[in-house]
């Protein structure tokens, strides 16, 4: 058993577990895009970033690939982590605004604007389809093709693949294929129709407390700011 601290909590995990598995085991939610419990993690989306090490010498690592170590200090909801997470979601929104998964993430993590050039791609290169095809379906019909900004997912010579059995697993697992729900007025890339919660504690504390339920900040009698635990007006 390895002892670690998770958000100040003393925890014990078995050697060989990843930080994500440890956090999930202790009931702390870390958003993920490219992780699936049945597939090998590749750390492609970076959404599961957590902060490790003492606060003055901390660094961000992807929780889904980082193995548990003895004495590790992990913070899953520090200011740095949350800002990095929000930026990532914003960038994903700028790439694939048509994805319901990404729109939901944006609402959940209170990303309300996109400051990047808006694109309308249909792939975030998370590699879930590639892995499910190889690891679960044993077909290996698709792969990452090309390199750098030309990286894409395709079949051998971009032709109909003989290895494909049309099982549809790639579409099932794709976080982008599921189209976003069409709200009454859908004007721009950020939907935010599901937006309701914003942690008010980031202003007062270094860490968000909303992973604890009920929220410590709200419990301690801090005036919840407008927007906390209430549906935002007009949405």
């Amino acid at each position: 058993m390895l002892e670690m601290t998770l958000n100040g909590l003393e925890i014990q995990v078995e050697p060989g577990t990843t930080l994500l598995e440890a956090a999930n085991f202790y009931g702390i939610e870390i958003p993920t895009l490219c992780y699936d419990a049945g597939l090998s993690p590749i750390g492609a989306c970076r959404l599961c970033l957590v902060e490790i090490g003492s606060p003055d010498r901390s660094r961000l690592v992807s929780a889904c690939t980082f193995p548990a170590q003895k004495g590790l200090e992990i913070r899953t909801h520090s200011k740095r982590v949350i800002n990095a997470r929000k930026l990532l979601i914003e960038m994903y929104l700028a790439t694939c605004p048509s994805s319901k998964t990404i729109q939901d993430l944006a609402s959940k993590h209170h990303v309300t604007r996109v400051r990047f050039k808006q694109k309308h791609d249909d792939c975030i290169l998370c590699g879930l389809c590639v892995r499910i095809c190889e690891e679960q379906m044993q077909a290996k019909a698709i792969e990452f093709i090309g390199r750098g900004h030309e990286l894409r997912i395709s079949t051998f010579f971009d032709k109909k693949s003989e290895d494909c059995r049309h099982c549809g697993a790639c579409m099932y697992i794709c976080p982008v294929c599921q189209a976003r729900c069409q709200g009454p007025q859908e004007k721009d890339a950020v939907c935010n129709a599901c937006l309701n919660l914003e942690p008010p504690c980031l202003e007062e504390f270094e860490d968000a407390m909303c992973y604890m339920d009920p929220c410590v900040a709200c419990e301690q009698g801090h005036e919840p700011r407008k927007g906390c635990s209430q549906r935002k007006e007009g949405s």
């Binding site: 060989g16 577990t17 990843t18 598995e21 597939l39 090998s40 993690p41 690891e135 290996k140 019909a141 698709i142 792969e143 990452f144 093709i145 090309g146 390199r147 395709s154 079949t155 051998f156 010579f157 693949s161 003989e162 290895d163």
Partner: protein, 179 residues
Amino acid sequence: MRQLQEQKASKEQNNNNASNNHSLVTMLHQIQETYNYLPENVLRELAKEKNIPLVDLYRVATFYSLFSLTPKGKHKILTCTGTACHVRGSEKVTEEISRVLGIQPGETTEDGEYSLEAVNCLGACALAPLVVVDEQYHANMTPAQIGALFNGVRKSTCQDKESSHCHCSSVAVGSKEKS
């Protein structure tokens, strides 16, 4: 998690055994050397023989820019567009080559004689700007020298100077115009 790792390890071992200690890149190099590019049917055969998933071959072949999936010309011309060469005017040199051959970087002439490739730094920056023709390095190139360079290449390889296909003279004219 651990199960998955074990699965992966055993799979990797299988792959290694299957490839007969030849790395995939080496095999692709050999194919490229014989055929001048990577033909689809040869890749298919290789996959069958070595028991490698087809799509893996495609992945590796598209990852390295040295591999080509379309036929290349008999003569390979590389012009360096790296920093040192750029500073010393490689852009003009590339333009001149494009003009003389009538192709852009990445393309092959219709007669299948020349293919032009723009590359990043050939590791000989002191000789900038650099043009490599059939693995011969030509240092300190200027646009004015391009015509003469191709003249030399064509003369040395042209077998049918008398026939109508021969372009030897046309290049010479092009270079004269310029200088």
